[in-house]
């Protein structure tokens, strides 16, 4: 079987009296298409923050490709190939999408410290940028300041940045929230079509998307892992239904009956 | 050969030292109003510049005045660094530089073209160092602002006072920007000296005085003495009766009993309602006089060197009393008076009660 790329062991995160992450252990296999679901406030975003180093865990450890990275700074983890997107857009408002991507690509081609060369002087950089702009439908707005872009475009840029970092492990926090319905599927297909050695962890509340994307799922509740399994198992798990999925199909009937009955 | 005679007057007109600038400008204008603006056939023109007490600005303004306005004399200079910064220019361009305010001893040594009509702190402080021991003051703590003039004052007072058998258990230096004197005064109080010797730049004097009284130091038997900056005429009247009896030594008091001074004070007050001339004003007034007289004697001949030669050795009666410009040092030699704050016509004044005649700047002795 494929090897484990990223693994969290016994992670605990306390905010004052609140335990947002409670002894979470999670393994991400190479090439995984893994979804993390759970009720609001279950600690999904917090877990991502821990994995990427935005937060320091109260206890527990994280290993990436066999090496302990618990103490590493966020940027060092990125350099080892672990990249994320944010639930709430984190963009560079005064840069254009093109500049944003050119900067990111340069950084990952080892040019970040070059101060005498113009941004985009290297062919390799511009080519990669063009490719990304194309792929995320950003070519038409590539020279507008990010802050004036429509929400949908901003969301796409958010994800494009992550891909520009040459990820080997990609952590996506509700990537399609706010993306127009029509484009959602396309976006996730782009992600799903990443090379098979890239491992993806996805957080999302849109169940249609999650189930069409994920090969494996973890359910987080109140900071602890409730269960883990393939989509079918999860979809039929009564516990998951009780705390998270509810009984979606019956909703219309019950409500409809109540309303119009 | 142009027919105007230009005086570049560089002063702090804004910022903390603004009142120095105002007094000097007013006095200089008064002198011109009284003595006309045509001297030796030349029309005297005064160009006032504000250097905001920033030395490099002073220097640039001076340079521009020399190069562009072709001024014949530079004058003013509120603070020591400004004067020192400009001195090399005076040498380079052979332009006399008349210091009307800055009072650190060494300024006149910075260039052979510097002439001073204000005073030096050693002059004023030494007089107190002589007076105090004779009047039952044996133990004194000094408190000065931590910059050139303050250090001068401390040094010369201390030297003379100890020489006369006094004791200085502690010398305090307060930061120029220290808004609260309380801790320093408390320290003085705990040391229980006979008197406290103070030099602070004019303006801060009132605060020292008030906090001195508030701390009940007069009641604890500590006398307040200092150079005349402490009881600056500009503010003395607002200090209230607490200031009564404070002894200071200085070269000028608005209450100096001479007809010339009376005339000066009256004219000054008339031209500037609400303002009483202080020692800054008299420095500016006499500075103008020195320039005028030099122009008269040299008849506008000989350029800067001619003017300078004519400034050296001038002896005259100033509102402060007799004074002269020492030809060697180009520094002012004048009487230093011992004064006590008293009430006259319902107003507070420094009333002179003793005088030490013709005091040379002791800083030049060595």
């Amino acid at each position: 079987m494929s090897t484990t790329v990223l693994s969290a062991k016994d992670l605990v995160m306390k905010f004052g009296g609140i335990t947002a992450t409670n002894h979470v252990t999670l393994d991400l296999k190479q090439g995984a298409r893994h979804a993390l679901i759970g009720p609001n406030g279950a600690g999904k975003t917090t877990l991502i923050n821990l994995l990427t180093g935005v937060l320091q865990p109260t206890s527990g450890s994280i290993t990436l490709e066999g090496q302990d990275i618990t103490q590493l700074a966020p940027y060092q983890r990125v350099r080892r190939g672990m990249v994320r997107t944010f639930q709430i857009n984190q963009l560079f408002d005064s840069l254009t999408p093109l500049e944003t991507l050119a900067m990111t690509v340069s950084q990952h081609q080892g040019l970040g410290n070059k101060w005498w060369q113009a941004l985009g002087a290297k062919k390799g950089v511009t080519e990669r940028c063009e490719q990304l702009l194309e792929q995320f439908h950003l070519t038409s707005v590539m020279d507008q300041q990010t802050k004036v872009l429509a929400y949908g475009k901003r969301r796409l840029l958010e994800i494009a940045i992550a891909l520009a970092c040459k990820p080997r492990v990609l952590l996506l926090d509700e990537p399609v929230a706010g993306v127009p319905a029509g484009e959602r599927e396309e976006l996730l297909q782009t992600v799903a079509a990443l090379p098979t050695d890239v491992s993806v962890l996805l957080i999302e509340h849109d169940m249609d998307l999650v189930f069409s994307f994920a090969k494996r799922m973890t359910v987080l509740v109140n900071g602890t892992v409730l269960t883990e399994g393939d989509p079918d198992t999860i979809a039929n798990d009564p516990q998951v239904k009780a705390v998270y999925l509810g009984h979606g199909d019956e909703l219309n009937d019950t409500l409809g009956a109540a309303t119009h009955g | 050969q142009s027919n105007t005679f230009k005086i570049g007057l560089i002063l702090p007109m804004t910022g903390q030292q603004a009142s120095t600038g105002r007094q000097i400008e007013a006095a200089a204008k008064l002198y011109m109003a009284q003595n006309g603006d045509t001297v030796a056939g030349k029309k005297v023109e005064l160009i006032v510049k504000d250097d905001t007490s920033v030395p490099d600005v002073t220097k640039r303004l001076a340079q521009e005045l020399i190069v562009n306005n072709k001024v014949n004399v530079l004058a003013g200079f509120g603070i020591t660094p400004s004067a020192l910064a400009t001195a090399p220019l005076a040498t380079q361009s052979k332009t006399p530089l008349v210091v009307m305010a800055a009072a650190t001893s060494s300024i006149t040594e910075a260039s052979p073209y510097v002439v001073r009509t204000s005073f030096t702190l050693p002059q004023a402080s030494v007089a107190l160092g002589d007076w105090a021991p004779k009047n039952g003051i044996k133990k004194v703590v000094t408190l000065v602002s931590d910059y050139g003039p303050g250090i001068d004052a401390e040094k010369y007072f201390k030297e003379r006072f100890i020489f006369n058998g006094g004791q200085v258990p502690e010398s305090l230096r307060v930061p120029l920007r220290g808004p609260d004197f309380a801790p320093f005064l408390q320290k003085v109080r705990d040391l229980k000296p006979d008197a406290l010797f103070v030099f602070v730049p004019s303006g801060a004097g009132a605060a020292v005085m008030k906090q001195f009284l508030e701390r009940g130091m007069d009641k604890a038997g500590i006398k307040l003495i200092g150079t005349g900056d402490l009881t600056d005429d500009d503010q003395l009247n607002d200090m209230g009766d607490g200031a009564l009896g404070v002894v200071t030594s200085h070269h000028y008091s608005a209450a100096h009993p001479s007809p010339l001074n009376q005339k000066f004070v009256d004219a000054f007050k008339k031209a500037n309602p609400g303002l009483r001339p202080n020692f800054m004003a008299v420095g500016g007034y006499d500075g103008m006089r020195v320039i005028y007289e030099a122009l008269k004697t040299s008849k506008g001949q000989g350029g800067g060197d001619g003017l300078l030669a004519a400034m050296k050795g001038q002896i005259f009666e100033s509102p402060r009393g007799p004074m002269f410009i020492d030809a060697q040092t180009r520094d002012v030699v004048q009487n230093i008076y011992l004064r006590k704050v008293e009430k006259k016509d319902g107003q507070l004044y420094n009333i002179e009660f003793d005088v030490i005649k013709d005091v040379k700047d002791p800083g030049k002795a060595k």
């Binding site: - | 603004a18 009142s19 230096r173 808004p179 801790p183 303006g203 701390r215 607002d238 200090m239």
Partner: protein, 290 residues
């Protein structure tokens, strides 16, 4: 010893009362108002002029100084400040410094550049001493007065800001004006009122501080750094923060000058830098949760 402590507290209280208005406008309204010192100066001049020219008693001058600067603050808020709430901070700095320059020049033009001196009433001039030797406590009556006024104000302000709806409504308005208005908060009135009170407090501080710190046109600029230090060290999210910061600075400054006069200038700044490096958000940050 005790006297030094007492003086430090009084000095700190004075710094506090001068800065608290700034803590309100800057911390709560998120507006960098460097003209704060100008309002303090206005309060100071109101007091001095009323006392000197009209013989109004000192105690009456204090509320008048408050009201005068509050009115001025209110008028300026409506006319000049309001459009600037959304502008970048650097623009606010530029604007308020410009305003300060104008205020300084105006004070100079109308009142003159020399120091103004406040004559306190007799009962505030005295001094009471208790104890002997190292434990002697000497209290200037005026300093006692300052401490009492400041303490009363602190309690009042703290109550208003944390315990009343007004406080939360103010913070809500700052966070998001548009939505706050949509939730029924009268944002304009709240800002107007807060700004006026902030300016009034500055004016009161100026009136109380003129005696100790001296009053001249550059007052508006001279103490700006002190105000900023208090607000930065105290954090901008509460009233107690700046109070404790002001007390700390006051005591450190006074004690430092007393015990090691040679290092006088270093102490306050070094202390500030250490504190800020240790707690970059200021000493007292508002934290949610328990």
């Amino acid at each position: 010893m005790l006297t030094i402590l007492f003086d430090g507290i009084a000095y700190g209280m004075l710094l506090f009362i001068l800065s608290v208005g700034l803590a309100v406008t800057m911390g709560l309204m998120n507006f960098i108002n460097l003209a704060h010192g100008a309002f303090a100066m206005v309060g100071g001049y109101i007091t001095v002029l009323l006392m000197q020219k009209m013989g109004v008693p000192f105690l009456l001058c204090l509320p008048l100084a408050f009201i005068g600067s509050a009115l001025l603050g209110g008028v300026l808020e409506r006319t000049l400040y309001r459009p600037l709430y959304h502008k970048p901070h650097l623009d606010q700095v530029l604007f308020s410094i410009g305003l300060t320059f104008m205020a300084v020049a105006c004070a100079d033009y109308f009142i003159g550049s020399s120091q103004q001196i406040v004559q306190l009433p007799e009962w505030l001039k005295g001094r009471t001493e208790i104890g002997e030797g190292a434990l002697m406590l000497g209290m200037g009556h005026y300093r006692v007065f300052i401490i009492v006024v400041c303490a009363a104000l602190t309690v009042g302000l703290q109550y208003v800001l944390t315990k009343t709806r007004f406080g939360s409504q103010l913070r809500a308005s700052v966070d998001d004006q548009r939505v706050a208005a949509g939730m029924g908060i009268n944002v304009n009135m709240i800002f107007l009122g807060t700004f006026a009170v902030g300016s009034g407090l500055a004016g009161l501080g100026g009136a109380l501080g003129a005696e100790v710190l001296g009053l001249e046109p550059t007052f508006a600029l001279k103490y700006m750094t002190y105000f900023l230090i208090v607000v930065a060290v105290g954090g901008t999210s509460s009233i107690t923060g700046p109070l404790l910061a002001a007390l700390l600075l006051g005591i450190a400054d006074v004690a430092g000058k007393y015990y090691i006069p040679k290092l006088g200038g270093f102490i306050v700044y070094s202390l500030m830098i250490l504190i800020l490096i240790w707690r970059p958000q200021g000493l007292f940050v508002r934290k949610g949760g328990k």
